[in-house]
Symmetry: C2
DNA sequence: ATTATGTTGGACTGGCCAGTTCAGTTGTGC
DNA sequence: GCACAACTGAACTGGCCAGTCCAACATAAT
């Protein structure tokens, strides 16, 4: 029938065409797998359906991943990887370049919330919840490789702000945890487990409220009026 | 074989024995269903297995609930009902009887965390996450009937404290949301999606930290040193 | 006793799906 | 040109399970 991949591959670069085609298919399968897993659940998801979604034969899926279980793990690994990058980028906005502290915190909070509310992000958490009993090791991939590192990175930044005298805290890790909690907690209810899309303006409102409370607790100055 | 239910039923009250036996079986099935759903997931859970766990024939399950889907819904309804009762009981500990505010908040926080960390509570949330795509209405049962009401009740209590001049806030609902967030957020990471049991001492620590931050933001007095 | 209702175990149907196999195709490196 | 590796489509096996049906049994009310 149609064989778009190989055709497209050769048009781009002949020497890499074979490998490129293979790699592209791998990515296509991982993407399709996540889409279908997220939509139907791991057990419900048929490998045939994933293959169709990826535009690939079922045998090719088994060729790349061996069985459904490792396909799930690889899917999570790929996902966690991209989530980590995005979250760290958000945290890195928190630097001590003399700007106004409140605005900076709100900015970081907003971008963290955007990561948190991303469709794929919600789908991943739901899938993890669903399969945690059958595959406890998935939790290590997600929490150990992503959530913990992000919190740690955030704690680092807060510690430097405390050292610079702009925040007051003896436990930056606790501050980071509570900052995250103030962000994600209120948004949890509003997004109905990721079912409802939360618009950016609402995210900014939540971020602003979170920072307001956070600064009352941790600001170096006695906290100005609101 | 064995027929323990009817025997136990008649020993209690002859007239109700039939009905009682039936009701007991209904409860047994609901309990078993939740156990198995939680352990294996909705799709994976065999109705035969649930029946066996309940000590009942498979046909009896269909007799009571018609099909697997309504069994799931009834299971959630029963669960949400009991969760609501427990949570409201925890919130009601927050009354304005002149006691020390901080201690009272820590007490409420601790008991809310106990509800939140209960095994069945975690299992319910995981199951909900897993099946939200196929059964979006389950969310209304859980969030609409439980979470929202609890937050509302908490907001009521906080409003009365504010009115009595013991807290300072113009938005008790926001305060309630942030209080909940400061409690559940830090515990989320520690409990590994309910996989790990969090000991009471740790819950007290988290509650104490949450109240500490909360009071810095919302206490009527400028906040004493810690 | 009889009737009605609920329960039981077991057998049975129809459908779904992971994973395999295979014969045939395509593009690449040499 | 040839050999090689990946890919394809399709058929096939074996296992699992929701939901139904049935003949026999228990219990309560009349």
């Amino acid at each position: 029938m149609m064989r778009p991949m190989s055709g497209a591959g050769t048009s781009a670069g002949q020497r890499l065409a074979g490998a490129r085609g293979r790699i592209d298919k791998r990515r296509a399968i991982l993407d399709a797998a996540f889409t279908v897993f997220a939509r139907e659940g791991y057990a419900q998801a048929g490998v045939d359906v994933i293959a169709a979604e990826a535009g690939v034969a079922k045998a090719t899926v088994y060729n790349h991943f061996g069985d459904k279980e490792t396909l799930l793990r690889q899917t999570f690994a790929a996902l966690a990887d991209s989530a980590l990058t995005q979250n760290l980028a958000a945290v890195e906005r928190l630097a001590d370049h003399g700007g106004e502290l409140r605005a900076m915190l709100e900015d970081v909070g907003f971008h963290l919330l955007q990561c948190y509310c991303d469709d794929r992000s919600w789908a991943m958490r739901r899938l993890l919840s669903a399969e945690i009993n059958q595959f406890p090791d998935l939790l290590d991939i997600v929490q150990g490789q992503v959530a913990d590192r992000v919190t740690e990175a955030l704690a680092d930044r807060l510690a430097r702000l405390a050292l610079a005298g702009r925040l007051r805290t003896t436990d930056p890790l606790l501050a980071a945890e509570q900052f995250s909690a103030l962000l994600s907690g209120p948004v949890d209810k509003r997004s109905r487990l990721g079912t409802r899309h939360v618009p950016d303006t609402e995210l900014r409102t939540v971020a602003s409220a979170a920072v307001h409370t956070f600064l009352k607790a941790f600001a170096a100055e006695p906290a100005e009026a609101t």
